[in-house]
Symmetry: C2
Subunit: 238 residues, 2 copies
């Protein structure tokens, strides 16, 4: 039996996956360089909505499969973060406001009419992973949070610069997320490093994070494919 990685080695193996994080995806680069048309920005917001709206169910699946009350208590805050304490608060609501700020009707977003099948399949795979895999792997898949603070800050600046017509209120998703994600990511890393005891568990956590990177990347592959008329059915696929 192989010896477990030290905490430093394990954390290093997880952090090494930053090269597969979606901040480097060509679509995000075009977004941040101000190269997206209004329709492309809307397609992105409407498709990313499907990811946002599935997150609380993904988090509930983790709680459902976790026998440790201290982990469940910690994780519960994530459901509240996304769903809010009422219909006017929460991360999902903030994403809807962003979608409205880029010119979408709320009902159109909620209808999911603009959600591309490839985006749906990728996000559903993420929720399915949380439903079927051990809670530790599902938790580890969320470690993309380690990589997101830089991306969020960069995006906020670039959106204010390149898409100044997007109202500041629409950017609340990002400003609110920046405030919490660094601490959340560190707490998550601590939990994963503390909980994975065997080398097999550690490697499964690394694989889970790689899987999550693939999910995010595939979401943007699909959105990018349908942008700019390069996709087979154009932006206004209906």
């Amino acid at each position: 039996m192989r010896r477990p990685w030290s905490e430093v080695e394990f954390a290093g193996a997880l952090r090494a996956l930053e090269s597969r994080y979606w901040d480097r995806h060509p679509f995000h680069q075009r977004l941040h360089d101000g190269l997206l048309s209004d329709d492309e920005l809307r397609l992105w917001a409407a498709n990313r909505w499907y990811y946002q709206r599935c997150l609380p169910q993904k988090d509930a699946a983790i709680i459902a499969s976790c026998p440790l009350p201290e982990v469940r208590r910690q994780w519960l805050a994530r459901i509240v973060y996304h769903d809010g304490v009422d219909a006017h608060s929460g991360g999902a609501e903030k994403w809807l406001r962003l979608a409205e700020a880029v010119g979408l009707e709320r009902d159109e977003v909620l209808s999911e009419r603009l959600v591309l099948p490839g985006v749906r399949f990728a996000v559903d795979a993420y929720v399915g992973f949380a439903l079927r895999r051990p809670w530790l792997e599902a938790v580890a898949s969320g470690l993309t949070e380690l990589f997101s603070p830089g991306l969020l800050t960069h995006r906020l600046h670039r959106m204010r610069e390149h898409y100044p017509w997007v109202a500041e209120d629409g950017l609340a998703y990002f400003t609110a997320r920046i405030e919490v994600v660094a601490a959340e990511g560190q707490a998550l890393l601590d939990l994963v490093v503390r909980s994975a005891r065997t080398r097999a568990e550690q490697e499964a956590c690394v694989s889970a994070l790689a899987f999550k990177c693939d999910v995010l990347w595939a979401v943007l592959d699909t959105v990018d494919y349908y942008c700019g008329g390069t996709g087979p059915r154009g932006v206004a696929r209906q």
Copy 2:
């Protein structure tokens, strides 16, 4: 309660989905026009392999959820068709021979190293559909067979014309499939039309077939996105 469609109306609603069948996907059009590079042809064969190799499990999921012995008996032949009666026969083996004929190593295909995440998510969604939905809907999702005889014949001719370096033995998947798919599709349509009794069941079958069209289309979206250097990581994603 709305009245059920007549058999003719129901079959018509199913056949109307032919416009969403993947024969019209830009990637297939480039394949059939002889415009694919050797590497692109290989990427297609290696990714389509993942679909082929999941089909017997999809079919077993349908049998697992079906309480009707006459349907299970009919469906069992599909598992045998894909898996063969030994390791040297069956549709999956024929697809592996095609992959070899376009220049891939068998072990490389079996390793699934070239399978793109978006393809995996789409195909897994199809298997998951068969695992979780009523057997009738899962069966109906296979009605893309109604649309495939023309595509298979067209592909066979165009591959012989545009990729003459692909050995004839490699095309056995298509020649064998052409022989059975027309009869299989008609039998499947008869089964679905006979089994769906309420309007709600009929509509669920139409939705299931639309879902399957989305699965196939999304597979090609992903392959196409990674072809010709337009994708973010190029054909030789590794």
